[in-house]
Symmetry: C2
Subunit: 345 residues, 2 copies
């Protein structure tokens, strides 16, 4: 007799981990870049979403109120876009002490010289003017991030191309630990690349960000959305609506491509724009309608979320307990490998 094949539906789902640093409300860059993706992934995978508040505190330690506020904003944003707190385990980093413990044990397998050469750390230190005065907490956070990933035994981590080195570090540290102690304790995750879409800022900047002051937030009301849409960067060389215009690098059209599901309308607008037979006002009016049709339901659900935010927090705290229990198993295995699991029979 052959073995009974396991039905696909009964196979264990792969674990996927994503997360955000709570340093502000989420915007349409997050929506298109990761949030909608998570809504899809939560059915296919066992999904974990980390609210990285300890990491947020590394460069906001003197503004804890902002971090706390942002945690609630994140939870509301998640709920608003359709992340289902029953399907997805949302958890708060500060409630899983095992992450710190795993981090400390991993710290023996990475040198400060390696961290110093990390391009992300180099860039961020330069941006923040921290080269001469680098808080240890900030410096060590790439390793702490590795501990986040390993603490949930993640199989997959959706990342942008610029974050691939982080996954490589994770795999590397997991391997070093396993090899040193000749065990199979830490699980090497794979990167899930290329599913994320980039959304430029309303000012034409390649990136949308709070500090760049060029973001459209999920929490923005209709009036603000309209104002921001009418401010988006278009073709600076076009003076009159009858001048032929450029569509490439034109943020109004970039957003049309991302938000307007009426592809015919978009094609026709682009054609007319190039010929100089449609004005910016009409393009933006239609853009507003398209974006609002995507964002209005989110906005509505977000208002609902605001009313139940303590309930969402309770779910995130439950999720944290679940992750903490899982991470404890990993910690115990690490401690066994290091011969310091004194409770082991």
């Amino acid at each position: 007799m052959g073995s009974i094949p396991t039905p696909a539906t009964m196979m264990e789902k792969k674990r996927i981990l994503t997360g955000d640093r709570p340093t502000g409300k989420l915007h349409i860059g997050h929506l298109m870049g990761s949030l909608l993706n998570r809504v899809k992934l939560q059915d296919e995978y066992e999904q974990f979403v980390l609210v990285a508040n300890v990491q947020a505190l590394t460069d906001n330690f003197d503004n804890p109120g902002k971090v706390r506020e942002s945690i609630y904003e994140l939870l509301c944003d998640y709920y608003a876009v359709g992340i289902d707190f029953e399907k997805t385990t949302v958890f708060i980093q500060s409630e899983v002490k095992q992450i710190h413990e795993i981090f400390v044990y991993l710290s023996n397998f990475v040198t400060i010289q390696q961290i110093g050469h990390n391009p992300t750390i180099k860039t961020e230190l330069a941006q923040k003017g921290m080269e001469q005065s680098t808080p240890l907490g900030f410096f060590m956070y790439p390793v702490h991030q590795v501990a986040d990933i390993l603490s949930v035994n993640a199989d997959l981590v959706p990342v942008g191309k610029d974050q691939l080195p982080m996954i490589e570090s994770t795999r590397d540290l997991a391997r070093k630990f396993n090899t040193t102690y000749d065990v199979e304790v830490l699980h090497e995750p794979e990167a899930l690349v290329g599913v994320e879409k980039n959304v430029p800022g309303i000012d034409g900047n390649e990136k949308m960000g709070k500090s760049l002051n060029n973001a459209i937030y999920l929490a923005d009301d209709e009036k603000i959305l309209r104002e921001k849409v009418f401010k988006v960067y278009t073709d600076p060389n076009r003076i009159r609506a009858t001048d032929p215009g450029t569509v490439e690098g034109n943020i109004a059209f970039a957003y049309h491509d991302l938000f307007n599901s009426n592809r015919e309308e978009v094609l026709s607008l682009k054609e007319k724009y190039r010929k100089g037979t449609v004005g910016d006002v009409e393009v933006k009016e239609k853009l507003f309608i398209a974006m609002n049709s995507v964002l209005a339901p989110i906005r509505e659900k977000r208002m609902e979320a605001e009313k139940i935010k303590e309930e969402l927090m309770s779910k995130a705290l439950e999720g944290s307990k679940k992750v903490s229990n899982e991470a404890e198993k990993i910690v115990n295995k690490m401690k066994s490998a290091m011969k310091i699991n004194f409770y082991e029979k």
Copy 2:
């Protein structure tokens, strides 16, 4: 009516923290330097003794068997010298995860440049040839040590003069945390300096140490003790017993001063030695008798300890739970200060 005065015996005892890295058996340097002192302190203070196994792993991560073995050796040494596991709370660092958590929160208040300028770290990096390749775990351990001290709310830490900067760092970090969040959460400890005696190595080296191969261990049996005593560095310029000898820098006399309670005998031996009327053999024979009378009861109790070492471990694990509960209170206060105590009412 005046307030009822609290009887001195009912006043809360001050908390004192000491500890050791489990990297080998303890020797007479530890005995005179700190162990006997701890035996005295355990009545006067609420004493905590930390077995710093996580720190021992930072530079012994590839030799966990040695660290584990050394934990048991430490516990036996403690018991042998008279540390009472009921009076003193012996605890194991890896069983108090809150230390890692406190460490992570403190890491925002110290820069890597400050750590790099720490003289102890500089010296140790040079000794271990780690300047070009410094494991993060090793680099961050001065801050992790601060977390040890703060995790038990220590009032006093007995230290050698060379460790005073560590206490200064602890006070500094505690103050920075308290000031940033405008709270009184972390307790600034005081150093207790000058109670420790230095014991030179049998080879005349100022320090006694395992790596220097010049130590007399508490676990050494009588035969080995005798051999080592007869090897101690005396006066290299003295050829014959009738030559006048030098007492200063002569390890046999240094040990006589430390171990021989018969002060008259010591004075008389010194006088004769200077005149050339006593031989090295007699000086050492008497030294052996004096040292053995101190070390024999310890050795005997140590053999007893070997038989109950699992029981000693159980007590240390109980102690760890106690410390973990105390540290959890501090963590919760720190989290409240940072506005991330989500369970706070």
